[in-house]
């Protein structure tokens, strides 16, 4: 049994007196592609921040490859230097992650902080821009980009460091269908690689493509775990956790009825 | 008042950059210490906010609208030093990236609005709010007062900067080279607009936002309220250990001003109103009085009240020069030093008495 990449043990985290994570435990194996499923506010984003050492649980522990992540440990630059390179987090709101004057500067930020030599920085950044097909945007300022372009830049700025673990917070949220499907293609493309990918989403349609293992969240707890196929079969559980809903609708034939279902594009 | 390039002479601009520098330096040191790695994102976003607030059109009583700087709000929520930096950065962006407001006069604008504004707002707010609860209406009033006073203090500084231009900077024919109006016109002109519209705008904004936060998120007001342990410790620590260190840049500024006071002698004639009873019967003095009063003829006899009171107090330095000092410039400077020294001594004594009283009260409570 390989050392889990992340071992979360009975973690409790409160956010302004609201319980975000409630005695939560789960483990993630290296190379796994994991989906954290849950409605908004179920604790997925909070967990991702804790996994990236940006927030620390008030109870319980979390280890990364055997190392316990505490506030003190994250202030030790000998630990954080490699940690920041090995784990990359793409935030849900791209604007908070695009704080540099130009796209090129943004992608170069990580490598510059990790003090790579200048030539290497320039070469790596240009390569990454090519891969993400955003070379034409390299001198643009972030406030003029479309949401899809912004998300591609944030991905590029994290992937340029070639992390072993990729954490993605709602990567397809707020994207138009075309950009969303491009994003999904990209996520599918990570299959078979050495990376561990943890994606949080409430979109059940993409789960089968992007993940081998799912955890369903509700009010800060894991209420179900399993492969996508197993999870998708549990319709009553999915209804309870607000991942699907029931309402009356009209079919083309004119008959109306109600049953639990998902809408491929949220309305 | 955002002073554009061309209103102030390069030497005035340089002096004001020099006056601003120690405050910027102190502010950066203190803010860096309290924020450490958060400095960059917090200050950037606060400066951006300050910029946007300056662009807000605010509704004023009477149906008009006006703009405010938001200096009191920034000071109350961020503390005076961070406020100095955030507003200075917003002003710099306005000048450098939007071409609004002067580049040579950036130091002057920062000094007037960011530095003087923040410090005055802080002093007035702390004094007026006292130890009132975070959600009390006294704090709203204190904020309104702080905003109003701060913006008028800034306007006054700008008025003085304008008013001294024609005094020192004239071309050979006597035409003023920069802001053309003397103090007697500049001060009333600036202050009328600010005591009314600009002051009102600042008052409305400061009171309104503090009231809003009292309803929604009172903890934001903690930083500048006593009872906040961190702020109190900081103040106590500064007062006892590093008081001199933190006050040093201000001391340098004050020293600079003291050295420059003899320049007051270059002002022609006497300051309006500063006449003794004797001057009314002296021909030369009467000429000077007329000049200073826009050619109004002074009364032949000194006013009765002036005559009665003029013998009441003979200042230790009559005519600003004790007999043993021959050169008036030296006497002027000495008087300035003595005057400021007396004021500083008085404030130190009151300050330490107040601290001692507060410490005693804290011990008992």
């Amino acid at each position: 049994m390989p050392v889990p990449v992340f071992d979360v043990r009975e973690v409790t985290f409160r956010y302004h007196r609201v319980m975000a994570l409630d005695n939560l435990s789960l483990a993630i194996v290296p190379g796994q592609r994991v989906a954290l499923l849950g409605a908004n506010g179920s604790g997925k984003s909070t967990l991702l921040r804790i996994l990236d050492g940006l927030a620390f649980p008030e109870k319980g522990s979390i280890t990364f490859c055997g190392e316990v992540l505490t506030e003190e440990r994250l202030q030790d630059s000998e630990f954080t230097f490699p940690f920041r390179r090995r784990v990359g987090l793409v935030f849900q709101n791209p604007d908070v992650q695009l704080f540099s004057p130009t796209v090129f500067d943004e992608v170069a930020f990580g490598p510059l902080q990790l003090q790579w030599p200048r030539e290497k920085v320039r070469a790596k950044v240009e390569e990454m821009l090519e891969v993400m097909k955003i070379t034409h945007l390299k001198d643009r300022s972030p406030h003029h980009l479309s949401t899809g372009e912004k998300k591609r830049v944030t991905l590029a700025s994290v992937l340029v460091l070639d992390p072993e673990v990729l954490l993605l917070d709602e990567p397809t949220a707020a994207l138009d269908p075309k950009s969303a499907s491009q994003m999904i293609d990209f996520l599918i493309g990570l299959r078979g690689g050495a990376k561990t990918v943890i994606t949080s989403t409430h979109d059940l349609d993409i789960v089968e493509d992007i993940a081998d293992q799912c955890f369903v969240f509700q009010t800060g707890r894991v209420v179900a775990a399993g492969t996508p196929t197993e999870i998708l079969r549990q319709t009553s559980m999915l209804e309870q956790t607000n991942l699907v809903h029931t309402h009356r609708h009209v079919h083309a034939t004119g008959a109306t009825h109600s049953h639990p279902h998902r809408h491929p594009n949220k309305h | 008042m955002y002073i554009p390039d061309g209103y102030l002479s390069p030497s005035t601009c340089a002096v004001l950059y020099g006056a601003a520098a120690p405050f910027w330096y102190t502010a950066l040191q203190r803010v860096k210490k309290s924020l450490s790695t958060r400095l960059v994102p917090l200050l950037s976003v606060m400066a951006a906010l300050s910029f946007v607030v300056m662009m807000f059109n605010l509704p004023l009583p009477g149906g008009t609208t006006g703009h405010a700087v938001g200096v009191a709000i920034a000071t109350i929520i961020l503390g005076p030093w961070a406020s100095i930096l955030a507003i200075s950065i917003a002003l710099s962006i306005q000048a450098l990236f939007f071409g609004d407001g002067g580049i040579t006069t950036l130091g002057a604008n920062c000094f007037n609005m960011a530095i003087v504004g923040s410090l005055v707002a802080y002093a007035v707010y702390r004094l007026a709010a006292g130890r009132a609860a975070l959600t009390s209406s006294r704090r709203v009033v204190a904020a309104a007062l702080a905003g109003y006073t701060a913006i008028n203090a800034s306007a006054f500084c700008a008025a003085v900067e304008f008013g001294i231009q024609p005094l020192f900077f004239k071309d050979p024919s006597g035409a003023p080279l920069y802001a053309p109006y003397p103090l007697s016109i500049a001060i009333p002109a600036m202050m009328i607009g600010h005591l009314t519209f600009a002051g009102l705008a600042e008052l409305v904004l400061s009171a309104g936002v503090v009231a809003y936060f009292q309803r929604t998120n009172p903890s934001l007001l903690k930083l500048t309220a006593p009872g906040n342990l961190a702020a109190d410790e900081e103040i106590a620590g500064a007062e006892s250990q590093s008081m001199w260190r933190t006050v040093r840049p201000l001391g340098i500024g004050l020293a600079l001003l003291l050295v420059l006071t003899p320049l007051g002698i270059l002002a022609a004639g006497t300051a309006w109103g500063e006449w003794s009873a004797r001057d009314f019967t002296n021909l030369q003095a009467r000429e000077k009085m007329a000049l200073a009063s826009q050619h109004a003829v002074p009364p032949v006899q000194p006013p009765l009240g002036l005559q009665r009171l003029s013998t009441l107090w003979t200042a230790p330095f009559p005519q600003y020069a004790p007999s043993f000092v021959r050169r008036p410039a030296v006497g002027y400077a000495l008087s300035a030093m003595f005057g400021s020294g007396a004021i500083i001594l008085a404030s130190l004594i009151t300050g330490s008495l107040a601290t001692r009283a507060r410490d005693k009260r804290d011990e008992l409570s």
């Binding site: 130009t102 300022s141 | 994102p41 035409a175």
Partner: protein, 269 residues
Amino acid sequence: MNFLERTLAGFLSAMEHALDAEDLAKTHGLLQRLDPRIKVIGILTLIIGAATAHKLWVISAVFAIALILAASSRVSPLLLAKRVWIPVLLFTGIIALPAPFVIPGRVVWRLPGLGWPLTAQGLLSAGYLVTRVETASTLSVLLILSTPWTHVLKALRVLRVPVVLVVILGMAYRYIFLLLESACDMLESRRSRMVGELKGPDRRRLAAASVGVLMSKTMQLSGDVYSAMLARGFRGEVYLRNDFHTASLDWIMLAVFAALAAGALYYGR
């Protein structure tokens, strides 16, 4: 809703101005082709030259230089008139208007009818003020219109501005647009929900609440940006890239700027 609409109009025009600047900065004029560091220094020295001059003709000469620079950089005089010349005339012009009547000196004319005297010194001082402000403003707007703001930012390093301040300036500028956008959204949604006129105190409460909401969002934003920076390895030090290359044109123009500024300082003293 006077104040809502005026505020919105102000926000929109600021965003437009920034866009105009970015467009113009991409055309191929003289100023656009220069290394931004040389441009910043050059234009700054010209502004100082105009500010120091004690002679009206020297200030006018610097203004003429600004016009030549504008023409060779494809900046239309109409744009300059709209953005600089007319606003300055309206503001500084009105301030300078009383000067010929108020400043003491040699009387050269009397206003017919009212008999108010105009002095030569007063006219001169009005002239000094208006031409100085017009010249300096024209030069700074030329700098902005011909240089992408990101280049202006990095050029400040040449003037020994500390790295941390350059980074803060850049980040603040970038987030101004985010705040402007969300402020616009907020104000527009409030405006669309307005039915009828609000009374004075309610208007003021609305304005204060708008600013308050913006402030709260800003606090949230700063925390998130901080986390995002930490996540990519930020530890308090910032590192910038330097990617400017000077060509021979730059050195020639630097010499030209230096000569013009020296001339202004010499003849203007």
